[in-house]
Assembly symmetry: C2
Homo-oligomer: 530 residues x 2
C-alpha cells in the first residue's frame, strides 16, 4: 500500500508543500519513507470551508445514512488489512497484537455508534403540546431535539494510533451526530493516519455524503493546532494529549471572540487506594496486578495507575516487597518516540531527587540508550513528603509509579482530598474495608470521572455507561466523556420549535414518531405516537 | 415586613459594612429605605466555604428531600404575600399585575423542578452489566449517573426580579440536582432579593438541609462579581444580563487556572421574518402583534423582537403604516433604572443617525425626562445599509425595533446568514410561504436556540422542551438552556462506578431500581429492575 504523504481536503489529496517531516521507527531509530507534507494555511482554510459548506446537508442526513457511513468506515479500515497494522507497528513500536486489538476496538466503536444512531433516542426529543385553553396564558406547541453544532476539529493522539486518532472516538462520535470533522493527524504516525484517512474518504463516497464532511491534515507544528482552534468556522474541538498541549489549545480558544467548547483529555495519575483488609488478604496479588497495569503499553495509557496509597505496617512491607520484585522483573519497552522517552527519563530522574523519595525498584534490564525505551520504575515516599511537594502530583507518562505510605485511614482521606482531578480512582478493599471507607469513596467521586473497586484503571470499555473525563486537569470539561456512546453529547445543541407545522418539523419530533424514539412527551418518557 | 440590608451567609445575616447602597424607585426617582451593605471579601469567602462544606451532604440528600425543599421555597415565597410584590414594584417599576404573574412563574418553576427531581430519570442512569466470559477481555460491571458539580454562583438579573433572580431558574435548577448556591443579588432590587433570600433560608431549615446550601450576597461592584467567578471553590456560574457583563465574567473565568463553565445569557435581537403570503394576508395583524411584543415590559425582555425583515412592495407599505400607527399609539413606560433608560435613549439616538436609517414612528407621548422612561420607537432601513453596518446588529435593550426591507427571498436568506447567534428567530408565513422558505428555516435553526412559526418570541414557557440559549453572543454556551427543566443539565457531571458492590452504589444504579427510573441498561431504555 503506497503512501503519498499529502493531506486530504474534502477527499482530494492536497498539493505538495516545501516543508516536510518524516516518521521514525522507535524500534530502530530509522526514518521511514515517504516524507509527509506540512499542510498550508490555505489547506486549513479549504478544509474548514468544505466542512462548513457540507454541514447543512450532513445535518439533514438520515440516521440510516449516518449508520451506513460509520459501518462503511469500519469495513474500509478492516480492508486495509495487515498493511495498516505493519505501518502502525513501524511508526509507534506498539506490538502487532496490541494493534490488532486496538483495530478491533476502533471498528467495534464505529459499529456501536452506528447502532446508537440507528436506534436514535440519543437526540433527546422533547415535546410539549399546545394548551390553548390554559389561563392566564395559553401554552404554545413546543418541541426540541439535539442538532449537530457544525465543524469539529479533532487532534489525533500519539498513544492510540487507531482508537484515538483519525477515525477514533472523537471523530466517530462527531460524525455520528452529523458534524463534519477536520482531523489533524499526530505527526508521530503520519502513514497510519494517511491510510485511515483514505478509508474514511472511501466511506464518504460509499455513503453518498458530501466530500467536505471529512478532511485530514498532516502537520507537526503548534501553529497549525492554534490556527485550527481559532478558525472562525470551527465549532468544537476534541484533543487527547499532554496537559501543556491541552492547556495551550484551551487558551487559544479562550482568545477567540466567540467561545467554543474544547474537550481536552490531558493528564491523570489514576490513584489506587489499597485498604488494610485487602492489603492483608491479597497484597501480593494486588502488587502483581498493579505492575501489569503500570507497565501495560509501556505505561503509555492515560489511565495508568501512577499513584498508589496504602497504610504503613507489616502488610505494606509484604506488598512493597512483592511490588519491588514484580517491577524488577519487568523488561524495558519501546516507547512511542524519543520525545516521550526523553521526557519520561527526565521526569523519573527529577522525582527521585525530591526529599523523602526513594527508588523502591526498577526493571532489572537497562533501557537501550540509543533507542526510545522506557525502564519500569516504582518510587516510594511518605505521606508528609508527598503532601508537601506538589510536583509529585504531576503525571509521569511512562512505566513509573509512586507508592505513598499513609499513617492511617484519616491520613489516607487527607491525601485523597489533596489530589487534583483524575480520570479514574481505584479502591482495593474487602467489604469490611469499604464499610469503614464510605467517606473516602465520597471524596474520590468528587475527584474522578470513574471510580473502580478491586480492579485496575487501564482498559477503558467503550459502552453507554463509560465516563472517560474527570475534573481538571484530567480533562477540560468533566461534564463530558471522550469514550463511550455518551461522547456524542459533546457535539450537539438543542433547537426548540414553537408552533411549527408538522410537515416542516424534523422527523424526530413528528406526532406519529416515525423513528420509534424514546421521547419526553408532556413530561412522560415513552415511545408512543399521538 | 422589615428589611435589614444585610447579606445572608449560610442562613445568618452578615455584619454591617462601611459601604452601602440604596434602591431607587424608578417611578418617582426617590431613594428607598433601608441602606444595603456591600458584602465583604470575608463574606464571599465564608459563603463559598459554607457551600463547599455542605456539598457532600447535599449531594447525598434524597430526591424526596430536595423536592420538599423546592416546594418549601415556593410556599415561603407565597407566604411573603403582598409585601414582596409591593417592594418589587417600588424597586423595579414593573406593574403589580406583571409581578404577580412573575411570582406565579417562579413558584410554578419551583414546583415543576420538584416534580422532575421526584420522578428522577433526569440523572441519566446507565448500566452495563459484567460480561465475564467475553473474549478477548471480559467486560467489567459499569454504571454511571449524573452527580452535582458543587457550589454554583448565580447572578440575579435586573429584568426579572423574581423569576431570574434569587430563587429564579438558575438557582432552582442548581438546587434541584444538589448543588449549593451562592447568589449575588442584582443591586437594582436589593429589598426584593433580601425578602426572597429569607424565604429560601426558611425552606433550608424546614427541609433539614445544611445551612451552607444557600447564601445570598448584596453588592453593586464588578469586583464582587469577578471575585465570585474566580473563587477556587466556585464550580459553575449562571448569569443573565448584558453582553458586556457576560463577557467580563467569561474572561474572568478564562483567567482561572481551572476552567469552569459560565452560562451567560447575554443579548439577542430575536429576528422576525415576515414572508410575502403572510404579509399580504395579515400584515396589519402582525404589525399589532409585533408592537405588543416589542413594547411588552417596556421592551425589557431578552426575547424582545428587535429586528423585523420583510420584502419590499405594496404589502410592506400597508404593514409599515399599520406598525407606525401602532407604535405611535404606544405610551412611554417606566424602565428598570436610569442606567437602562439612559443606555436605551443613547442607543436609539445613535442608531437613528446611521446612513439609511429613518425613524418610522415613535410613541406620541414623550418620555418624562426626569424619570427613567422609555418611549417606543420603530426605525427602518434598507437591506444594503443594514448589511454594511454591523452596529445595527447590536441589541437595544428597551422598546425599540428596526424594520429591514429586503429585495427578495434570496436577499432575506442572505440577511439571515449575516446574523449573529440569537435566542430566538421567528417566521411569519403561510403554508405556501414555508414551502418556499425551507432554506431560511435551515439557516435560522443554525442561528437560534428556538425557532417560532406565526408567533412572537416574548413569553418563554418553563417546560421540558424549552431551549433558552443560542449561539454566541446570545449565550456563552448554546448546548444548554437557562429556562425549562433541561436547565439542570448545566450543573451535573457523570460518575462511572466500575465493579462496585451493590450496597455502596447510589440508589439510582441498584439492580432493583428502587426509584423506578428510566435507565439505559445494556443499551436498552426501560424502567425494569433486574
Amino acid at each position: 500500500m503506497s503512501l503519498h504523504g499529502k493531506s486530504y481536503i474534502a477527499g482530494a489529496p492536497s498539493l505538495p508543500s516545501p516543508l516536510t517531516f518524516l516518521a521514525v521507527d522507535p524500534q530502530t531509530g530509522a526514518a521511514l519513507e515517504p516524507a509527509f507534507y506540512e499542510c498550508s494555511e490555505r489547506e486549513v482554510e479549504a478544509a474548514l470551508a468544505a466542512a462548513e459548506a457540507s454541514a447543512p446537508t450532513f445535518r439533514q442526513s438520515t440516521p440510516e445514512m449516518r449508520s451506513f457511513f460509520l459501518e462503511a468506515i469500519a469495513t474500509e479500515i478492516l480492508a486495509l488489512g495487515d498493511a495498516l497494522l505493519s505501518r502502525a507497528h513501524a511508526e509507534t513500536g506498539l506490538p502487532l497484537d496490541r494493534l490488532t486489538g486496538e483495530r478491533g476496538r476502533t471498528v467495534g466503536q464505529l459499529r456501536l455508534f452506528a447502532e446508537v444512531v440507528r436506534e436514535g433516542s440519543w437526540c433527546d426529543a422533547r415535546i410539549d403540546t399546545a394548551l390553548p385553553e390554559r389561563t392566564p396564558v395559553p401554552r404554545p406547541d413546543l418541541r426540541s431535539v439535539l442538532v449537530p453544532v457544525g465543524p469539529v476539529v479533532v487532534f489525533g493522539a500519539s498513544n492510540f494510533p487507531l482508537a484515538f486518532s483519525v477515525a477514533g472516538g472523537d471523530t466517530v462520535s462527531a460524525l455520528a451526530v452529523g458534524c463534519p470533522v477536520v482531523v489533524k493527524g499526530h505527526p508521530a504516525h503520519p502513514g497510519t493516519s494517511e491510510l485511515v484517512a483514505g478509508a474514511v474518504n472511501r466511506a464518504v463516497l460509499a455513503a453518498g455524503l458530501p466530500a467536505g464532511v471529512f478532511s485530514f491534515l498532516q502537520g507537526s507544528t503548534h501553529a497549525l493546532g492554534k490556527a485550527l482552534v481559532q478558525h472562525p468556522k470551527t465549532r468544537a474541538v476534541g484533543f487527547t494529549g499532554s496537559q501543556r498541549g491541552g492547556r495551550a489549545l484551551l487558551d487559544a480558544a479562550g482568545a477567540r471572540l466567540e467561545p467554543i467548547p474544547v474537550f481536552a483529555e490531558m493528564s491523570s495519575l489514576n490513584p489506587v487506594f489499597i485498604l488494610p483488609g485487602a492489603l492483608l488478604e491479597r497484597g501480593a496479588q494486588i502488587a502483581e496486578g498493579l505492575k501489569n497495569s503500570l507497565t501495560m503499553g509501556v505505561g503509555q495509557f492515560c489511565t495508568k495507575p501512577g499513584l498508589t496509597f496504602a497504610i504503613g505496617g507489616e502488610s505494606l512491607e509484604v506488598f512493597r516487597e512483592a511490588l519491588a520484585k514484580a517491577i524488577h522483573g519487568a523488561a524495558p519497552g519501546t516507547m512511542l518516540h524519543t520525545g516521550i522517552s526523553g521526557a519520561f527519563a527526565a521526569a523519573v530522574a527529577a522525582a527521585e531527587v525530591f526529599p523523602g523519595v526513594h527508588r523502591l525498584a526498577c526493571g532489572e534490564r537497562e533501557a537501550d540508550a540509543a533507542l526510545p525505551q522506557g525502564r519500569p520504575v516504582i518510587l516510594s515516599v511518605g505521606s508528609e513528603a508527598f503532601a508537601s511537594q506538589p510536583q509529585l502530583r504531576e503525571e509521569i507518562f511512562g512505566p513509573a509509579g509512586l507508592l505513598v505510605e499513609a499513617k492511617n485511614l484519616e491520613d489516607l482521606r487527607h491525601l485523597a482530598e489533596g489530589l487534583d482531578g483524575q480520570l479514574t480512582a481505584t479502591i482495593h478493599g474487602t467489604e469490611a474495608d469499604l464499610a469503614e471507607a464510605r467517606e473516602l469513596v465520597a471524596i474520590l467521586e468528587r475527584k474522578a470521572g470513574r471510580v473502580l473497586f478491586n480492579g485496575f484503571p487501564t482498559g477503558v470499555e467503550v459502552c453507554p455507561s463509560m465516563q472517560h473525563g474527570g475534573p481538571y486537569p484530567a480533562t477540560s470539561d468533566s461534564r463530558f466523556t471522550s469514550v463511550g456512546t455518551a461522547a456524542l453529547r459533546r457535539w450537539v445543541r438543542p433547537v426548540c420549535y414553537q408552533n411549527f407545522p408538522v410537515p416542516v418539523l424534523p422527523q424526530e419530533l413528528r406526532n406519529d414518531n416515525p423513528l420509534g424514539l424514546m421521547r419526553l412527551v408532556n413530561g412522560k418518557l415513552g415511545r408512543e405516537s399521538f
